[in-house]
């Protein structure tokens, strides 16, 4: 340590601290001590097994003590008068700019002489860059399969048995009135989202469906619709027996079960497609074909089609 520093220190030490400065120093010291204690306590808590809430509090105390201490310590600096600084121009000015443009044009000049040849070459360069750009896009096509007809079809086929989440076939008449169940095609992966359907048993004689639709409702009571909302694709998980409506919990679209699951409130625009059902010789529910239309939200290539099998 050289002499100058020594003197400087003494000079500083000689200045008596004001009452406020002493208070600030004391507060700062308390804050830093809190931070130290919290840090030490954090060690203890961690090595004795950890506890999320305590860790949070101790972290907050350690960081907060440090932060508030620093702010109070710096407070005496903040009392310093405001200073003024010139907001000098940060642009180089018109002249320098012109010089830049000029030198740029001068350097590139030889390339750009002869108007006709220039524009021809520049166009070719653009073409080459464009072709390369398109070629570079090609690997991106490997990111996924082509949509094809995948969105239009599900795993339901004619004669496929209807099973519950546990994979067991559903026997006709096994549901109570106003009971409902999520069902899948037998043997299909339940995590393939597009096949999920809701089987609902409604009281006899209430359904107001066309002949064609009723042909897929065994007993006039066991009706099934796609469980995928036609709006944004959420599972339409809520059944309100009082109004016989299905409600999507995501955006509150509501569908009229008795009238072909036409939407009557909310953002959905299309009915939930119906799954035509029948009963096989053993009394189990089976599908008579795929859904009456593509399931889920609208998409551009969605093609209208009749009931396919």
């Amino acid at each position: 340590m050289d002499d100058e520093d020594q003197q400087h220190r003494q000079a500083e030490g000689d200045e008596p601290l004001s009452l406020e400065q002493r208070r600030a120093a004391r507060l700062t010291a308390i804050c830093f001590v809190v931070a130290i204690l919290a840090g030490v306590a954090l060690f203890v808590v961690y090595f004795t097994g950890g506890q999320t809430q305590l860790e949070g509090i101790l972290f907050a105390l350690a960081l907060g003590g440090l932060g508030i201490g620093i702010v109070i310590w710096g407070e005496q600096l903040l009392a310093a008068h405001e200073v003024e600084e010139d907001r000098h121009e940060f642009t180089v000015g018109e002249e320098s700019r012109l010089a830049l443009v000029e030198s740029f044009e001068e350097e590139t000049g030889p390339l750009l002489r002869h108007g006709a040849r220039r524009s021809f070459l520049v166009r070719l360069l653009g073409g080459a860059a464009g072709a390369l750009g398109l070629a570079l896009l090609l690997p991106a096509l490997s990111l996924g399969p082509s949509p094809g007809r995948g969105l239009a079809h599900t795993s339901w086929r004619k004669g496929r048995r209807v099973v519950g989440e546990d994979g067991k076939p559903i026997v006709f008449d096994s549901l109570p009135e106003d009971g409902f169940l999520t069902v899948f095609p037998e043997g299909a992966d339940v995590n393939r989202a597009d096949s999920q359907a809701l089987l609902i048993r409604v009281p006899n004689g209430l359904l107001e469906l066309s002949e064609e639709q009723l042909a897929g409702v065994p007993g006039g009571t066991h009706v099934a619709y796609s469980k995928i909302c036609s709006h944004a694709g959420c599972p339409v998980g809520l059944y309100r027996a009082a109004t016989r409506s299905l409600i999507c919990p995501c955006h509150q679209s509501q569908f009229d079960v008795l009238r072909g699951c036409k939407p009557y409130f909310g953002p959905a625009a299309r009915p939930l497609p119906q799954l035509p059902l029948g009963v096989d010789r053993d009394g189990n529910l089976v599908a008579l074909g795929d859904f009456s239309g593509p399931v889920g939200p609208a998409f551009w290539h969605r093609v209208k089609r009749g009931r396919s099998s």
């Binding site: 809430q53 509090i57 972290f59 960081l63 907060g64 996924g144 399969p145 953002p267 625009a269």
Partner: protein, 463 residues
Amino acid sequence: MSMVRRSVQYLDERLGTASFARKTLRKVFPDHWSFLLGEIALFALVVLVFTGVFLTFFYTPDARPTIYQGPYEPMQGKEVSAAYESVLRLSFQVRSGLLMRQVHHWAALVFVAAVVVHLCRIFFTGAFRRPREVNWLVGVALLLLAMGEGFTGYSLPDDLLSGIGLRIFYSVVLAIPLVGSWAAYLLFGGEFPAPDIISRLFVFHVMLLPALLLGLVGLHLVILVLQKHTQFPGRGRTERNVVGKRLWPQQTFKSVGLLFVTTAMLAALGGLAQINPIWQYGPYVPFNVTSPAQPDWYIGWLDGALRLAGPWSFDVFGFPVSEMFWPAILFPGIAFGTLTLWPWIERRFNRDQAEHHLLDRPRDAPLRSAVGMAGLWVFFVMFLEGGNDILAVMLNVSVENITRILQAAFVVGPFVVGAATYAICRSLRKSQIHPARATAGVELRRTASGGYETVPLEPTSSE
């Protein structure tokens, strides 16, 4: 002292940075509480980076199914994805893992909130005007990236709630005219739920988006330093100077203090306030759903937009245009397009080409303030509608009526709010109350004849 001198000498002889460092340390920053909002966003980002790195050491970006065998009993023996399992392990078996996860999630919410409030400050004070248009663009890009980071991160645990959010996002992509189904298949790797999406989201969340985000934050700050900070008008403040405190030591003490206090708040939140308890939601199963289901707050407006819109779907040459196109693609496009282009839109109206370093108060630009408030109102209504099912239960009003009321508020509200803001700004401007100037007031004088007279005082500053 001599150590400082030695290190300065060492660095200057090798890097020649002493004059630059001196200029930087002496740099003057104007002082106003609202200038700290952006700093809070920056500090939340610091916390996000640190906690996020910790989380990556434990997270498995893998959708493959596995049987849960950890200590959380209700989930034992159930089939969950490896991603979900790794987040449960992080939460229950890694010491201070849950704290780090919760601090990370809270920091994300605070980060986007601070960005939005900072954006409002910039907007309502006209800080985007020439020469700061470029930094405005960088800022809007940062907001979008922040929301993208939030949504991808929220989806990573592969829990039921985030899976539903992902399903909705897939449907939104599907609703893009012409290329929707292609875009959705390429992005998700096939028909939803394709297993690739989890690992792709991970790459977006920890590499692509953070690289862009941090790069743009750097650019944001470099431009800020180059152009110098704006300041509010007041005594001695002109378009040609900067009045405030120096970077060292005043601003540094303040900012470092704020960094630690922000972090402390986030640590307290992460330790004490439970957030995203994915073990309660369960793993994502395509045919399960929770109710009520709300996303994180900064996506709430978009979910609300989807609930607010009507069943407006129609065919163009036999191709269906989804009802989701309006609320989820067209509206956000217009809203964020307007936000992005605002500096140029405003210039079309007021033909103001001048450079501005002195800030407006909101009342100084009634039209801008009116547009801004109308825009905030629209987003606020959508945000409320995003919780229409919760509001319905709380207020004992049917969901249908909540939606109808908010639909009306969405259409009529912006005009009412805009007009009211305009009127308030005009009258405030007329009243001449100026927070930056000392209150002028009146002086009471005794006249020679023994009576009294009042003399209006001059404002204490000239602009």
